[in-house]
């Protein structure tokens, strides 16, 4: 069996090395690049992201990542967003009172969590939906989060009976928030699977093994 090819989109955001190594560890051939053609043709595309929502959107647009994600999804090609790479998939993000437009793949606003201690840093439990493919075998594990902002209400209802209902995984820090989404070819995690030890590796393996 050939190893699935994965591109980790490089748009100047944070530690990409860990993501690369974690994906290689679970059997992917990984290239870290901002090259649109490579990112379009890869079996899987990982959109990482740390820091500010607005800065990540700027970075994504600068490498044409916005249309890249659209084009991949139009062709049913898998995309995995991680941390802020997940947040920017929503309609908008509000930081310090300022709203920034996101990629709008899902309705919802990324907002600061209401919690006594922020950022939310550390290992937390999750509540995946019944039959989650991404969390198969690691439903009861803890994953590593580091963020202050999140989506706290899921607004995408099943309107078309022919389209499967997206699987939403929740976690809790001060309030409930979306920890992961599985929506056909588009998956995302608010936590860092590449930093979540063996549990994170198992999740990435689940994703990589689903690729083409």
């Amino acid at each position: 069996m050939t190893r699935p090819g994965v591109v980790v989109l490089d748009y100047g955001s944070g530690n990409l090395r860990s993501a690369q190594r974690a994906l290689e560890r679970v059997g992917a051939d990984v290239v870290v690049t901002s090259d649109v053609d490579a990112a379009l043709s890869a079996d899987g595309l990982v959109v990482p992201g740390v820091g500010a929502f607005a800065a990540c959107m700027e970075g994504i647009r600068s490498v044409r990542g916005d249309s890249l994600v659209d084009r991949r999804l139009a062709g049913g090609r898998p995309v995995l967003g991680i941390c802020v790479g997940m947040q920017i998939l929503f309609e908008s993000g509000v930081e310090h009172g300022l709203a920034t437009e996101g990629l709008g793949e899902w309705p919802g606003v990324v907002q600061e969590l209401r919690a006594d201690v922020l950022p939310h840093i550390g290992w937390n439990t999750v509540r995946p939906p019944e039959g989650s493919a991404l969390f198969a075998g690691v439903e009861d594990e803890r994953f590593y989060f580091v963020h202050s902002y999140a989506v706290t209400s899921w607004q995408l209802a099943a309107t078309d009976p022919h389209i499967p209902v997206p699987g939403v995984t929740w976690s809790h820090h001060g309030q409930d928030f979306v920890a992961a989404v599985e929506n056909g070819p588009l998956c995302a995690t608010q936590f860092h699977p590449e930093k979540s030890g063996d549990a994170g590796a198992a999740l990435l393996r689940n994703w990589v093994s689903s690729l083409g």
Binding site: H120, I121, T125, S196
Partner: protein, 256 residues
Amino acid sequence: MTVSVRVIPCLDVDNGRVVKGVNFVDLRDAGDPVELAAAYDLAGADELVFLDITASSADRETTYDVVRRTAESVFIPLTVGGGVREPDDFDRLLRAGADKVSVNTAALARPALLQEAAGRFGAQCVVLSVDARRCPPGVQTDSGFEVTTHGGRRGTGVDAVGWAVEGARLGAGEILLNSMDADGTEAGYDVELISRVRAEVTVPIIASGGAGRLDDFVPAVRAGADAVLAASVFHFGRLTIGEVKAALAAADLPVR
């Protein structure tokens, strides 16, 4: 469903080698930070801290190499500190594979560094390390604690609690709170220092300094620490990560 208390071993690294004697069994090279990091990962560490004590900045490349090799084999968060002066130092360490960068003296000398680093890389990767002690005679601060430099040898007269508050306001996403009074005593964390800082800041606190016995960890968390850091008790094998977690769990504190 709550975020768990993090148990964090800290490694002092000098020129790419772990110092302060590490006495781990079953290691081919107990001085290799990469191998130690992997051992701690296996033992259940929730995060690792590397403190680079390399004297010469010319030798800093060695540190980047250690961070690079660690990030290639260990899949838990890694915080690196020591010798960080400029936002570009953050950039180099993050690119090498660090997840968070801790800064101490340089932020004290130029607090805007925290703003610049948080602006460029996000507050979540900016850790402010505060070396605090009780004010000696003749020194007064609002909290009764002052910030020290040079490994606790020099006082600054700056209020340690106030500095933690200011640091968080400027962009630090986490406070690494070292008690220089407790450091090396193995007589327990300084719970008064922890609770004073907890009362004033909303970012996570990593308690450091004083861990000696299993009973020391729960009071630090009860005082407000989100994470507990220790060095020698782990390195010399007197306590294991698992034992510390069991002690926390026995007190109904969440652990991984």
